[in-house]
């Protein structure tokens, strides 16, 4: 390789190394704090290409400017009406003031610890201001979860903003459970409740069914009673009319009727079981007597 080429290569390499030490990019996702011997001298929030003195004179500190999200632990709190509830929240936050953040906090992990303390304290104080019915209630208007979340956010934000340059953008409840004993009691109660509802349905069914059957039976006996009555009346009419016909006919000669009727009854009454004793004087046997036969 010629001398000239050597020089060019060497110089290029030297320039590249220098550029790597001096120039740096700021990405759209980050904030940059340039420190000089540990002391912050410049804050950069616009993405682009910048230059600095090489390390260790000036150092680039990068911070994620995006919205961070983390979840608190499950913590038990007390509501205004002394009810226990276990809550877990998600917290959306971001760095708002890079310099303050760098000076007060330094890293995302430390930030989350500090935020967590503030958020949990806010949770406690806000939850303590509302009764249980503001959290769960069948009356829609009573539930004020979003209002509570807004208050918590504001409250947390006022502290983090001032002290750490952190903006808490959103706090939301992402888990809501009861303490173990309460939950067990709820299970038992749910079972009992369902049992009594089932019993109610069954009792209702029985009652209604009995009612329907009784009504049907009543109607049945009404119908039959009325029919019986009407039948009796009709038969009575028949009897009466017959009696009328008889009377009209027989009163023409009651004596003769009595005679005929009695003869009829003899036919019926006197059967083969009957024994009759005739007197030899009787008219009927008159002609059996030899004397008369002559």
């Amino acid at each position: 390789m010629s001398r000239g080429a050597k020089i060019i290569t060497g110089t290029s390499i030297f320039i590249l190394i220098l550029m790597a030490l001096i120039f740096y990019r700021v990405d759209v996702k980050e904030y940059i704090i340039v420190t000089q011997f540990g002391r912050p001298v410049k804050t950069i929030s616009e993405p682009g290409l910048y230059w600095k003195w090489p390390d260790p004179i000036q150092t680039v500190n990068r911070f994620d400017r995006r919205l961070q999200v983390y979840e608190t632990r499950l913590i038990e709190y007390l509501t205004k009406d002394k009810k226990n509830i276990i809550v877990q929240c998600f917290v959306g936050w971001r760095i708002e003031h890079p310099l303050k953040f760098f000076q007060a906090v330094g890293s995302i992990m430390t930030a989350e610890q500090k935020i967590d303390d503030i958020v949990c304290a806010q949770l406690g104080s806000v939850l303590g201001d509302y009764p249980m019915s503001a959290i769960i209630s069948t009356d829609e208007k009573e539930v004020k979860i979003s209002g509570m979340e807004a208050r918590m956010t504001e409250g947390a934000n006022s502290k983090t903003s001032e002290n750490y340059g952190i903006r808490v953008k959103e706090i939301g409840i992402c888990r809501l459970v009861l303490p173990k004993d309460n939950a067990q009691a709820v299970y038992r109660r749910m079972k009992e409740e369902r049992r009594s509802i089932a019993n109610k349905y069954r009792a209702e069914g029985k009652e209604k069914a009995t009612e329907i059957r009784a009504a049907a039976d009543r109607q049945k006996s009404d119908i039959l009673a009325r029919a019986y009555r009407d039948a009796q009346v009709t038969m009575g009419e028949g009897d009466a009319e017959a009696i009328g016909i008889y009377a009209k006919a027989f009163e023409k000669d009651p004596e003769f009727y009595k005679f005929l009727r009695t003869l009829e009854s003899y036919k019926k009454i006197l059967n083969k079981k009957t024994t009759v004793i005739l007197s030899s004087d009787s008219d009927l046997l008159r002609y059996l007597n030899r004397k008369e036969a002559k």
């Binding site: 390789m1 290569t9 990019r25 700021v26 990405d27 682009g48 994620d64 995006r66 919205l67 961070q68 979840e71 998600f90 069948t138 829609e140 539930v143 979003s146 979340e149 992402c174 459970v177 009861l178 299970y187 749910m190 079972k191 409740e193 369902r194 049992r195 509802i197 089932a198 349905y201 209702e204 069914g205 209604k208 069914a209 009504a215 049907a216 049945k220 039959l224 009796q232 009709t234 038969m235 028949g238 009319e241 016909i245 008889y246 009209k248 006919a249 027989f250 000669d253 005679f259 005929l260 003899y266 036919k267 083969k272 009957t274 024994t275 009759v276 004793i277 030899s280 004087d281 046997l285």
Partner: protein
């Protein structure tokens, strides 16, 4: 130099040759490296993707369309790609996954299932009942810049926000509503609340659909819930049976009533006809009788005796004294 004689003096010409070879190749290697370096600027954006081009970290193009493009190589330009048309899926909610349920059962045994159920995730209804809910989400990236550069972990945020929406919506409904008519409303509310919150945070995610895959009471009380449904069905059955009894009994009674009336009418007609017949007969006989009373009476009397005496046992007693009882036997045809 005399000091460098021996090992080194033999090595030196070989090293010199090696270096000269390397120097010859190195020129080409360098040319190739530079070429490859500039070649690295070629990139492809896929058909369901959108590219975002940055120069020195600053966004210079928000919407690089699918296809082959060229940018200046690193560290000048950089391309980020987002699958913008891809529909992503996520399951969110509070329920026990099957594998976990098995583990819990094994760890706690059936008797302690209620304890286990306390550990499993659930949500609370407005009337303090415990429910397991399982929601299937379908979502897309609607703003790639927001999605990539404003959010650290958008999928995680989405899950948390939707969970919050589930808690909020269920906390307003009684359990019976959640299990029956409220399902549709729940889906709507969760969708609406989540989307609003995501938009307020500038998340860049669009929720396409929220589907309630299941909303159930926990295993421990499931049987009791099913029994309520059974009880409802039993009630309906009992009532239906009673109604069909009624629908059978009343027509039966009416038929019977009708029959009774018919019989009575028949009786009446019969009685009247009978009377008419008898009286007609009587009138005829009366007419006869009126013509010759005594003779007719006698005749009728004897006719009667003719009819009834044969079948009776007869004794004839003499009026004139105790002796000479005459016993006559009329042939009666009787054995």
């Amino acid at each position: 130099m005399p000091k460098k004689d021996g090992f080194f003096s033999e090595l030196r010409p070989d090293l010199k040759m090696a270096f000269s070879e390397i120097r010859k190749i190195s020129r080409y290697v360098i040319y190739a490296a530079i070429f490859i370096y500039f070649l690295s600027g070629i990139y492809v954006v896929g058909t369901n993707e959108i590219g975002i081009l940055k120069r020195f970290g600053r966004v210079i193009s928000k919407e690089v369309k699918p296809g082959i493009h060229y940018h200046l190589p690193w560290p000048v330009d950089e391309i980020d790609k987002v699958r913008i048309k891809e529909v992503k899926r996520m399951e969110v909610g509070f329920w026990v996954k099957e594998e976990e349920a098995e583990k819990l059962k094994a760890a706690y045994g059936k008797r302690e299932l209620e304890v286990a159920a306390v550990i499993a995730p659930y949500s609370l209804t407005g009337d303090k009942n415990i429910m397991h809910t399982r929601i299937a989400l379908q979502y897309r990236v609607k703003d790639p810049v927001q999605f990539l550069y404003d959010m650290k972990d958008p999928d995680f945020l989405l899950k948390a926000v939707v969970q919050g929406a589930i808690i909020d919506s269920i906390a307003r409904m009684p359990v019976d509503k959640v299990l029956t008519i409220g399902k549709h409303r729940l889906q709507q509310e969760v969708h609406r609340m989540s989307q609003a919150r995501l938009d307020a945070l500038g998340c860049g995610i669009q929720i396409d659909s929220v589907e309630l895959k299941s909303a159930e009471p926990p295993q421990y009380v499931m049987a009791a819930f099913k029994d309520v449904i059974n009880a409802q069905e039993e009630r309906t059955t009992l009532i239906h049976e009673a109604e069909s009894y009624r629908n059978q009994t009343i027509p039966e009674a009416q038929a019977k009533a009708s029959a009774m009336l018919q019989e009575a009418k028949a009786y009446k007609a019969r009685k009247i006809a009978h009377a008419q017949g008898e009286t007609k007969r009587f009138s005829k006989m009366l007419a006869e009788y009126s013509k010759s009373k005594d003779v007719t009476r006698e005749r009728l009397y004897i006719e009667l005796l003719e009819e009834i005496l044969p079948r009776m046992k007869k004794y004839i007693i003499s009026e004139e004294g105790g002796e000479d009882v005459v016993r006559l036997r009329f042939f009666s045809g009787q054995k």
